[in-house]
């Protein structure tokens, strides 16, 4: 190799290296600039997350807000109750995705009445598909006990899937932080919101139960199953959390099953003697009104349930169900 060639190679090499060095320098400088953090990490922020869940309620129709049907057959009474409010077609439009949130809190057998009745849930699913022409019906809950056992032992899993519904079990990734506007407890709290993002209508199904802490567990308390995290903490202020749940969740329809009411030892019950047959099925466009009516089934007055008053004050609904002109009828 001649000396000039040698010098040429060296010069090329030098330029190449300088270019690479320059590029590295530029990259380092750019990265520093882009990532530069003059403030340092913040403390845990006080309020973040979603401010409200989607509103699944349907337009108000005078006299068609709450219906009460007395009868011993759940399938019959629930059909009648929904028909009195305009039929399932008023609530479910063809091609829609429906999410049904029944009470599947415990891994208890259906006869104990601690969870929603499987036949009732299945019937509502069938209604959505057959008459409502829904595209898909999803059943979900974030139970207290192990989810798989709950859906299996309560019978709801089998009944609902036989009716064509899809069972959705809770997973970590389905929860997002919610800070309810006007709420004191639901601040930065994980809520089971992801499944709600992709659906069109929300239906709640709950039995009427006595509850040690709150006095009663009906359609409003049913939404406790949408809370994540270590939600047991809220039992220290149970009435506020139930009220905030009612403020947060605006469902399309709630069904309150007072056919077999758990009168004592709620919310888990444990013996058939805890139940009393009252043969009442309530369908309502508003959970507060449903609970206000339903408390009479537990021999309680509206004033006996502080969460009703709090919810009313929070704008979640009215406890004066009379003003909503409930349609009361019986079958057989």
């Amino acid at each position: 190799m001649t000396e000039s060639e040698q010098k040429g190679i060296t010069r090329r090499d030098f330029i190449r290296r300088s270019a690479k060095a320059g590029a590295s320098l530029a990259a380092a400088g750019a990265a520093s600039y882009w990532l530069y953090d003059a403030a340092g990490p913040p403390a845990v922020s006080v309020e973040e997350g979603i401010k409200a869940l989607p509103d699944f309620s349907i337009p108000h129709s005078e006299g068609k807000t709450i219906s009460v049907v007395k009868g011993s057959d759940r399938v019959e009474t629930v059909n009648k109750a929904i028909d009195l409010l305009g039929g399932i077609e008023r609530f479910v439009k063809p091609g829609e995705r429906i999410l049904i949130k029944p009470n599947v809190a415990f891994a208890s057998p259906p006869i104990l009445g601690a969870t929603a009745n499987p036949q009732l849930v299945a019937e509502v699913v069938r209604l959505c598909y057959r008459r409502g022409k829904a595209k898909q019906v999803i059943i979900t809950d974030n139970p207290i006990n192990d989810p798989q056992s709950c859906f299996r032992l309560s019978g709801i899993g089998k009944a609902a899937s036989e009716a064509g519904a899809k069972i959705l079990l809770p997973r970590d990734g389905y929860f997002r932080n919610v800070s309810l506007a006007g709420g004191r407890l639901i601040k930065n709290w994980p809520v089971f919101t992801v499944p709600l993002e992709k659906i069109d209508k929300l239906i709640g199904i709950a039995p009427v139960k006595d509850h040690d802490r709150s006095g009663a567990s009906m359609t409003m308390k049913n939404w406790y199953g949408l809370l994540g995290g270590r939600r047991n903490i809220f039992h220290q202020d149970i009435n506020t959390i139930i009220a905030e749940l009612a403020m947060m969740v605006k469902a399309t329809l709630v069904i309150l099953d007072g056919t077999q009411v758990m009168m004592t030892n709620g919310p888990t019950g444990g013996a058939a003697s805890d139940l009393q047959r009252k043969n009442v099925m309530i369908a309502s466009c508003n959970a507060v009104a449903a609970d206000a009516y339903g408390c009479s089934l537990l021999n309680l007055a509206v004033a006996d349930l502080p969460y009703l008053g709090k919810a009313r004050k929070g704008g979640a609904g009215t406890t004066d169900f009379e003003s909503l002109k409930p349609i009361i009828t019986s079958i057989g």
Partner: protein
């Protein structure tokens, strides 16, 4: 002046500066205390800290911008930091020099030959970078602090060497400093140092991830060591004291060269130089990483963090005795920033911050954990030194107002590190019938977070039968009382009718109640009286307790304390709360 001389001066300069910074890291305004000394300078210059935290947090914390000039200089000049600045490197250099001083040329050259094992440090670096880059288990994790030389040296000096010297000579700090688990830190430090007796700069060549990083960054250095002319007689003098074991006599490995310039100095016929053209004997710029090695370290990195975190210590299985300093970020983010440098432990005026062990999880090793039983007082109420000093803001530099919940932070309330729980089975007034309210007295917040309720307990063998009673003096049938036992002012005499009076004094068989306030109804012969002790029993108000641990520190039940701080209720972690937020804070 020879370049090697300046290099030595530089090493000494930075080494002394490093030691000085370690020494002055205590609170105070005197020249030999903290003042404005930039004691975090070395950590801030360390690009591994900057890059590590940038990967985990996607941000460059502003003081770490100092790493940029170091990176820039390395890109241009090569791996100068290792032999000009790094204090740990200087230690290795010196010990290696001492170890091989008396050996002959052949032995020295053999010690400094390139070894394949020098690729291990790159694997270590890749492992750590993967851990930091990939959010594989509730976010990424920062473990560079384990082996980063500045962190390691900082830990070793601050938490072991200085306290040992101080505890022996009493010169450095006012009271003895204690650090748990220091033996492990010392073992690792001495191991690293003594390995130089085998191979000089063992740590730098085989282990140091910072050196590996510099090796990668410095690949394109404009100036590098190399042979500037042909005709090298291969005398191997250049490798006599070669620090990087980079084989300057043959094809020089640029990534290993630490620019000690010993070869330049030692070269007998001016062949070695520091030049821009590549070495005439050829050079290898890339580190010696095989693809297989790279894959192995990458895969280990991918699996390591999720495996470490399988214990769910970041979730519901959190270790409840893990109390972090006030201002610490929530645990996941904390573990993305803490480089285990030990500065917070060094500066804590009460010595309550300790290097963590493995019990709260592997990642807690050498991270700051509060042990209320060590030191002078739990976490001092109006001190924010740890946040002030933390180089990466794993502990935020909170203001006193934020810590105490004043002014702008009045709504948010004070920062709680946890909550104190009274152990009623060990507490003196609860379980031992002994009056004590040291915890309540020392609780520093106002209003106090510990309050008491008074109750009276009949003492053991405290039911006595009256023989005769006159005024406030009751003589008892039993005559085995210990004289003056009941004259402490805590004892009371209870009558059948419910009257209770404070006992002034007693003899073997008389009880004397205070004369100013004697019985309304004098007890009669044969009646039973009860000697009771008045106990104030402590309760913790969980809304006011900030978990500072002063109560735990002061509790006289000195082993397992009768009041202990537990992580529930710490403000940085909502999932450890025991009350719903929105309650009175």
């Amino acid at each position: 002046m020879r370049i090697v001389t300046v290099r030595r001066i530089s090493q000494i300069f930075f080494f002394v500066l490093f030691l000085w910074f370690c020494l002055v890291t205590t609170i105070g305004g005197e020249w030999w205390r903290l003042r404005g000394w930039p004691v975090n300078l070395f950590l801030q210059l360390d690009p591994l800290v900057a890059i590590g935290t940038a990967l985990t947090t996607h941000s460059l914390y502003w003081p770490l911008l100092w790493a940029l000039p170091v990176v820039a200089l390395t890109i241009i000049l090569g791996r100068f930091f290792c032999s000009w600045v790094c204090p740990f490197g200087s230690v290795h250099h010196f010990v290696g020099f001492l170890a091989y001083r008396k050996k002959n040329l052949a032995e020295k050259v053999k010690a400094n030959r390139y070894r394949k094992g020098q690729c291990i440090k790159y694997f270590i670096l890749i492992f750590f970078l993967i851990l930091a880059a990939l959010p594989l288990a509730k976010g990424p994790g920062l473990q560079i602090g384990l082996l980063d030389p500045i962190s390691l040296m900082s830990r070793s000096v601050n938490l072991v060497l200085l306290p040992v010297i101080d505890n022996l000579t009493g010169t450095i700090s006012v009271s003895a400093r204690f650090y748990e688990g220091a033996w492990l830190i010392l073992t690792i430090f001495f191991a690293a140092v003594f390995l130089n007796l085998l191979i000089p700069r063992f740590y730098c060549r085989f282990i140091c991830p910072l050196g590996a990083l510099f090796g990668i960054i410095g690949r394109f250095a404009i100036w590098r060591i190399g042979k500037k002319q042909i005709g090298c007689p291969d005398c191997k003098m250049c490798e006599r004291a070669c620090q990087g074991a980079c084989a300057p006599s043959a094809k020089i490995r640029i990534s290993e060269c630490v620019l000690c310039f010993n070869c330049l100095q030692d070269c007998a016929n001016e062949t070695i130089s520091y030049q821009t053209r590549p070495s005439l004997a050829g050079e290898i710029t890339n580190p010696d990483i095989t693809r297989r090695g790279f894959m192995l370290s990458a895969i280990s990195g991918v699996f390591a963090l999720p495996a470490i975190r399988l214990g769910n210590l970041l979730g519901s299985n959190y270790y409840y005795r893990l109390i972090r300093p006030p201002g610490a970020l929530p645990e996941e983010e904390f573990l993305q920033r803490c480089i285990k440098c030990g500065q917070c432990m060094r500066i804590c005026p009460t010595n309550v911050i300790q290097p963590g062990g493995l019990q709260p999880g592997f990642e807690s090793l050498w991270t700051p954990v509060l042990n209320m039983r060590i030191g002078s007082s739990g976490c001092q109420l109006n001190c924010t030194a740890c946040g002030y000093i933390c180089p990466t803001s794993a502990i935020r530099p909170i203001s006193l107002s934020e810590k105490l919940g004043l002014d702008d932070f009045a709504q948010a309330g004070p920062i709680k590190m946890g909550t104190a729980f009274v152990d009623r089975s060990r507490c003196l007034p609860w379980a031992m019938d002994k009056p004590c309210i040291v915890c309540q007295e020392n609780c520093p917040v106002s209003p106090k977070a510990i309050y008491t309720r008074t109750s009276f307990e009949t003492v053991r063998d405290g039911i006595l039968t009256v023989k005769k009673a006159v005024g406030g003096v009751v003589e008892t049938i039993e005559d085995t009382l210990v004289p003056d036992q009941f004259s402490t002012g805590d004892y009371y005499c209870l009558l059948k009718n419910g009257e209770r009076r404070k006992i002034e004094t007693n003899t073997e068989n008389t009880i004397v109640v205070s004369s100013a306030d004697s019985f309304e109804r004098i007890p009669v012969e044969g009646e039973k009286i009860e000697i009771q002790i008045r106990l104030q029993r402590p309760y913790v108000d969980i809304h006011r307790c900030i978990g500072c641990g002063v109560c735990e520190h002061e509790c006289p039940v000195s082993g397992r304390r009768a009041i202990r701080v537990s992580a529930e209720g710490e403000t940085r972690s909502r999932h450890k709360s025991i009350t719903p937020k929105g309650q009175y804070l």
